[in-house]
């Protein structure tokens, strides 16, 4: 049986990880390569990198990070942030990423999903979705709307419709980020995760809101997520990946326990 995946997420700006991290030992907390290696050794099933570098002329720095990560860790990892076209995808994949994720670029130009899937295969193409809860309306029947710019811009697109459309266009996986839950440490947006997971036939990674292990347990069971993205909960030292996986294992969730 397939294991549920625990996926740490690293935000990278100008080649440095940005979130405050309290690591034990002699790890350079600013170095994404060191952090990736640390989580790899701790039992992460996959790693997600978001390049939040503001200026596009510094993207080569991220490519270099990807290349160095690929030499160190032998599990899949994905790279998102600033991917605007096939050429950006190719650069990231050739540097050694297993997957590339597109978010606002796909909202603006959905064809990028189909183009990417055709060029590299669906398994490489992750659709990142930033979602906010809104009033149910004719335009947004699910009550969840796609947003971009960190939640500042509402796109008038229904999250459920968008997820289905992206699947049809060839997205291989969805990384579903609730802007409402993100950073709250109050738990994942359960209803949203279950809604999307029930209605697409591609894996869904739940993102945003993990504050304790129960939250992760809930989203992987009731929420029907295939994987849980974790950030603050592991970066700030609340729990290690190993602790999370051991607790899930004890509660009967199938997770990879040997690494």
């Amino acid at each position: 049986m397939l294991s549920k995946r625990i996926i740490p997420c690293l935000d990278v700006r100008d080649g440095k990880t940005t979130k405050g991290v309290k690591f034990q030992g002699n790890i350079d907390i600013g170095d994404p390569v060191e952090m990736a290696r640390f989580y790899y050794k701790e039992g992460a099933d996959e790693i997600v990198f978001y390049d939040i570098t503001a200026s596009s002329d510094r993207r080569d720095i991220m490519i270099d990070v990807v290349r160095r990560v690929a030499e160190e860790i032998f599990i899949p990892f994905s790279v998102g942030g600033g991917i605007r076209n096939i050429e950006d995808m190719r650069n990231v994949l050739l540097a050694g990423a297993e997957k590339v994720s597109v978010n606002s670029a796909a909202v603006r130009n959905p064809e990028i999903i189909a183009d990417g899937a055709r060029a590299f295969g669906s398994q490489c193409i992750v659709l990142g979705m930033d979602v906010k809860k809104v009033e149910t309306s004719r335009k947004i029947p699910s009550g969840y709307e796609i947003v971009i710019n960190g939640g500042r811009t509402y796109m008038g697109i229904d999250a459920l419709e968008w997820a289905k459309q992206a699947e049809n266009m060839g997205a291989g996986e969805i990384c579903l980020n609730s802007i409402d839950a993100d950073g709250t440490l109050q738990g994942y947006e359960m209803a949203l995760t279950q809604l999307i997971s029930d209605n697409v036939n591609i894996p869904v990674i739940a993102s945003g809101g993990a504050g304790n292990i129960d939250h992760i347990y809930d989203v992987l069971t009731k929420g029907k997520a295939d994987a849980a993205l974790v950030a603050s909960i592991v970066h700030n030292g609340t729990h290690t990946i190993k602790e999370i996986k051991e607790a899930l294992h004890v509660q009967g969730v199938k997770v990879r326990m040997r690494w």
Binding site: M1, L2, S3, R5, Y40, D45, A70, E71, F74, I75, P76, L93, L94, G96, E98, F120, G121, S122, Q123, G172, E173, N201, I202, P203, D226, A227, R256, M257, R258, W259
Partner: protein
């Protein structure tokens, strides 16, 4: 030296990086003489069977692989490379290399787990391998070890004698198959952490023989 066969079927650099990490020399190549000069061959690939077979034939690599199989050189098939060593694939109804008797089938849909949850296709993520028979390449692998899979089709060998490991995903399918000097795995050892690296290392020291 290990030849990683390049037939335009996906990104081969992760296999190369894993071998480098393990300290084995390798080259990504599609040149016949280079392949013939190597001691062993890794045959990876992602993508569709039809296009893969088309490209293999166009490059004359189908003949090279058959030749190398027949002379006993150790060969490792990975993912799509584990599928097109079979006789035929449902994917594009492609005629394949036929090094192992049997076919490649599409996962039936809808597919349900033992708990009656609907399973998604492709089978993507970490899953375990039930070891059916001993094989030098599987040395040191424990039942709890898991490997990274990404696939919608699976191999169905004509005989159990080709099956070294199976994996459950709605159905139980052959995830490690082999015949003589050929061993093939549906998952990606190069993306499967320590256990995957162990398999690659085992392959790198395998003489191509085992008790069948």
């Amino acid at each position: 030296m290990i030849a990683i066969i390049d037939y335009k079927a996906g990104n081969l650099s992760s296999v190369e990086r894993a071998l480098k990490k393990l300290g084995y020399g390798c080259m990504i190549t599609q040149r016949r003489e280079e392949i013939l000069s190597c001691e062993r061959i890794i045959f990876p690939g992602v993508g569709a069977a039809g296009k893969a077979m088309y490209d293999l034939k166009r490059l004359g690599l189908d003949e090279v692989l058959r030749y190398e199989f027949n002379v006993g050189k150790p060969i490792l098939g990975i993912c799509l490379g584990a599928q097109i060593i079979m006789e035929r694939s449902r994917e594009n109804e492609a005629e394949c290399l036929g090094l192992i008797k049997g076919n490649v089938e599409l996962f039936p849909q809808p597919l349900f787990s033992e708990e009656k949850d609907r399973l998604k296709i492709p089978h993507m993520g970490w899953n375990s391998v039930n070891l059916r028979k001993k094989h030098p390449v599987l040395e040191g692998i424990a039942p709890e070890d898991e490997f990274y899979f990404v696939h919608a089709y699976y191999t169905l060998p004509a005989s159990d004698k080709y099956v070294f490991g199976t994996t459950c995903y709605g159905i139980e399918f052959a995830s490690v198959i082999g015949h003589k000097n050929l061993i093939a795995m549906q998952f990606h050892p190069e993306k499967s952490g320590k256990a995957g690296l162990r398999l690659l290392e085992n392959f790198c020291t395998w003489d191509g023989r085992h008790a069948e």
